[in-house]
Symmetry: C2
Subunit: 300 residues, 2 copies
């Protein structure tokens, strides 16, 4: 089963990048798309994110082999219901959301008679909207598929091939494990970044202007992540509550231990941790997940 026609629902950073990646790397695939915001549909037409930016979700999916929902995870169930009447019986339903158990449940509830295979390409930038996407967003990044236990092997294989054509490396795991892994590699880092940026802007004894001026000391790195889409991230935390709270508990436990080490002047405990973490950076670079250039290659 080869995917010849893809409908993209939601034409922001992820949806737009899928459309552009198909155009650049898999131009035999027909693309249609829909976004509930008319201005986004217009922008999508101007950038050519999909071949046809339709005026309804039903129109977009009516001939699709694969539908990819690129909406906030809290909006998945309604988005699926909105297109269910027009959906071909053998179409694969997938998505790009950052939490997977809630999406799997939502899509199987909304579309009980269809093949549902949730997916999460671990890629993105802090920008959002129809102007933010680009064709190489998924190159050398991992895309995790979380098929339900009874999933059709041929459909999983088709979806894997689709993502591989866009440049991604594909991994398959169950939705619960995905949610635990991503809680630590993505959700908690975002929560921490949002929080510290908020903390810094609310201080009385340090002005906002000082925070901005001296942000090159490390803080500015956190502002990038904290500029990510607010609705998308609200939904991630509401839909991956269990794993996020568990990982947050581990983090605050470790942070409390560091706090105690600082208070008691335990330099060895600090030095121990700070030495171990350097090795992780090396592995991230060695495995192609970040650039080796100092300071992310920022210009100096």
């Amino acid at each position: 089963m080869t995917i010849r026609s893809v409908a993209i629902i939601g034409l922001g950073l992820l949806g737009g990048s899928i459309g552009l990646a198909i155009r650049e790397r898999a131009s035999d695939i027909v693309t249609t798309g829909y976004d509930s915001d008319p201005a986004v549909r217009d922008a999508a037409r101007q950038r050519g994110l999909v071949q046809s930016a339709c005026e309804s979700a039903g129109e977009a999916v009516s001939s699709a082999d694969l539908v990819v929902l690129c909406v906030p995870v809290g909006a998945m169930e309604q988005a699926a219901r909105d297109l269910s009447a027009a959906l071909p019986a053998n179409a694969i339903i997938s998505d790009v959301g950052s939490s997977k158990k809630s999406v799997l449940d939502a899509l199987m509830t909304a579309l009980p008679d269809h093949v549902v295979i949730p997916a999460h390409p671990v890629a993105g930038t802090e920008q959002s909207g129809p102007d933010a996407g680009f064709a190489t967003l998924f190159a050398e990044r991992w895309c995790i598929l979380t098929p339900p236990a009874n999933a059709d092997d041929a459909a999983v294989s088709s979806l894997s091939q689709f993502w591989a054509r866009l440049g991604a490396k594909v991994e398959i795991m169950d939705a619960e494990h995905h949610d635990l892994v991503l809680a630590v590699t993505s959700h908690i880092p975002h929560l921490i970044a949002f929080t510290i940026v908020g903390t810094a802007s609310d201080l009385e004894d340090v002005t906002r202007s000082e925070v901005i001026k001296y942000s090159a000391g490390g803080f500015r790195d956190f502002t990038r992540i904290a500029a990510s889409d607010p609705v998308m991230w609200r939904d991630v935390f509401l839909n991956n509550k269990g794993a996020v709270l568990e990982m947050l508990g581990r983090f605050t436990e470790d942070l409390t231990a560091m706090q105690r080490a600082i208070r008691s002047g335990d330099g060895d405990a600090l030095h121990d941790l700070f030495s171990r973490t350097r090795a992780i950076r090396r592995e991230v670079i060695d495995q192609g997940q970040d650039d080796e250039k100092p300071d992310f290659g920022r210009e100096h």
Copy 2:
């Protein structure tokens, strides 16, 4: 009083960058240097970080108008004592440490009869050592001087001009306020990054390999900061304990509020915070403290 001769003690990222910046932007200034590690002195000679890499601190400072200590903040007092016998009476003693009250106290204790003007160029990368420095590290970055209350105006002015010649923008504030500001813009971000990278590598239910593979979800940003020099950072936390603990208290209070919002499903509280933080990123970029390119301009 013009600075014509600078001695750099400690030839790592910061010391090396000062030497290279002088060579490129202020080549009329004579540079000498010293590092307690013979291998670093050799590397400094090969890269030409200073004109003379001396075999003792005393030799390096004997004709200096300005001595810049580029050693971990916990090593400042001893470094100052080691050169005190050879130090010209009218030389200015400064440094580049990330905490300032402890350094001011240490240097005034070690060199009670000299002009002490601590400084902190808010610039760096995650790399360290004599190969890490580069001439433009300080360009468009802020350098904060924290002179004691009775400081000689002419000396403060000379040091300001020196840093301006290296491309920095100079600000003057008192040491205590510096320590509070940098706790939030630099020290707490580093502590959080070190901690979450440690947490992620200690989990049982998520493997280290998974943490690395899916780090593009946000975690990899934290690994950069967490690759910073362990000794330097141990000393920062031990020497800015009060401000770090105060700011850490604010952060954990805010993080607990977010935890409660997630547990109780309070989407509005999450959305509120996530919307406010986006504006801070905009200001960081508008004020030239970071690049506008998405994802720090990483190649995709």
